[in-house]
Amino acid sequence: MTKDLATNKLPVFDLVRCKQCRICAHFCPKDCIAFNDEGDPYLARPEACTSCRMCEYMCPDWAVSLEAPSEGQPDIEAA
């Protein structure tokens, strides 16, 4: 699978929009997404993320977007 189109970008979850349906995790081919005790999604394995965007495409609430990691966040290339 290619990851050239969104290199250095990782999914970011808008928890205001998210209705915790978990479809993002279901379509993640690398099982990168986990849920905290409140049921909110987070990127548990950024090093495994291929930026395939299926979490973004399948989210019915437009709560996932791929963004370049800000300072302090893991860098997909470095991971």
Partner: protein
């Protein structure tokens, strides 16, 4: 042979019984023309307006931005020819991709023969468009970018929102052929940044012969059909009341069960691929392994013609396609498979199975059971198959 296993949902879907039920009154006692002034017709006008509002709500548009058409082909033609005509003073350059549906590609060719310049951006080996390729193709005289949301053959999902940001920055109109995506992927015209979007009801369990174009307010597009003043004077032709009512119901149902259908169909699709690839040698996946529509599987098999596989599977009651239904009968290899780098001689050996709501685990297992002997038989007859063929070493 009693059993029919339908795995060609990208070609068309069975109309949902709930959809048929809401359509029936508008084909019988409520037959009035909604453009008339008496009650029989006005009831039709009211129900069409309700459908317009329901569809607009689903895709986050205003009802006034929804224009009903005869299907996806008309909507695609209208968007492309209409923008090219209305904006000809600004420029005559349009951008599309190499893997679009023929409704887009042929419209572009029509314009090209009449003096427009067309840039067809390439795709990678999985069928993905790089948005930066679109940015690089933009020119001061570009009037339209037309890119599909999901491909009809290999199911690849394109980065529409990224392309939408680029076209907005550049001030260029953006049309999206969402015929395959509608009902399968969330659609929001604001999030996607599109100005025009085409849909066709029969791809999401609605009736054939009806579709729509979303047209953002204040977008100048020359009408394609001329006649009466229907659709606020922009699309002539007697309003297809039952079709529109059915399409709105079908979209509502699809939207409500989208996640459930996607999860189920993706699991069945993966089961099918695992079963076929375990039981057949020299079988390859066409397209991106991940970024594709949940129910789409497109494979190619060395040494066999796709159409012979289709015919033999039909004898087992399994309905699939080689390439897309729209090009069945063509001797040309699929332009989509060629665009992703598959040589012509291999592209001919491709098969598309598209799963849907009615597909069961038993259907998938039946396919996995009957297909390997068909492949063996066809390869035994094939003049281009040899046991130690070098092509089997590839992929």
């Amino acid at each position: 042979m009693d059993r029919v296993v339908y795995m060609d949902h990208a070609s068309t879907t069975p109309t949902d019984p709930e959809v048929v039920a809401v359509m029936l009154p508008w084909m019988s006692e409520q037959f009035g023309n909604p453009s008339t002034m008496y009650s029989l017709g006005l009831r039709g006008a009211k129900v069409v307006q309700n459908a317009r509002e329901s569809i607009a709500h689903t895709i986050n548009a205003d009802p006034e931005e929804i224009y009903f058409t005869s299907g996806g082909t008309e909507a695609d033609n209208w968007a492309i020819l209409g923008v090219a005509d209305a904006h000809s003073k600004k420029g005559r350059h349009l951008i599309t991709s190499t893997i679009e549906h023929h409704a887009v590609l042929e419209s572009m060719e029509y314009l090209e023969k009449r003096g427009c310049e067309i840039t067809r951006v390439p795709v990678d080996g999985g069928g993905l468009i790089d948005p930066e390729e679109v940015r690089r193709a933009l020119r001061p005289d570009t009037v339209l970018v037309s890119i599909m949301y999901a491909n009809n053959e290999i199911g690849t999902i394109e980065p529409i929102a990224d392309i939408g940001r680029i076209t907005r920055e550049a001030g260029v109109l953006f049309h999206v052929d969402a015929v395959q995506a509608a009902g399968k992927l969330p659609l929001d015209v604001e999030e996607l940044g599109v100005d025009m979007l085409s849909m066709s009801a029969h791809k999401f369990y609605g009736p054939k012969g009806v579709g729509l174009m979303y047209l953002r307010k204040r977008t100048r597009v020359t009408p394609l059909l001329h006649g009466g003043g229907q659709e606020r004077g922009r699309r002539a032709g007697t309003t297809n009341v039952p079709g529109i009512v059915g399409m709105a119901k079908a979209l509502e149902l699809a939207d409500n069960r989208m996640a459930e259908d996607a999860v189920r169909e993706a699991a069945l699709r993966d089961r099918l691929w695992e079963g076929l690839s375990a039981g057949i040698e020299a079988i390859h996946l066409n397209g991106d392994p991940v970024r594709r529509l949940p129910g789409n599987l497109n494979v190619r098999l060395d040494g066999i013609e796709g159409e012979s596989m289709v015919l033999m599977l039909d004898m087992e009651g399994i309905c699939v396609s080689s390439g897309s239904a729209c090009t069945t009968g063509s001797l040309e290899p699929s332009h989509v498979l060629l665009a992703i780098g598959i040589p012509a001689e291999h592209a001919h050996g491709s098969l598309r199975a598209t799963l849907g709501r009615s597909t069961t685990t038993e259907d998938v297992d039946h396919f996995i059971k009957v297909f390997p002997p068909i492949v063996d038989r066809l390869r035994q007859m094939s003049p281009i198959w040899c046991e130690n063929c070098v092509c089997k070493q590839r992929n």
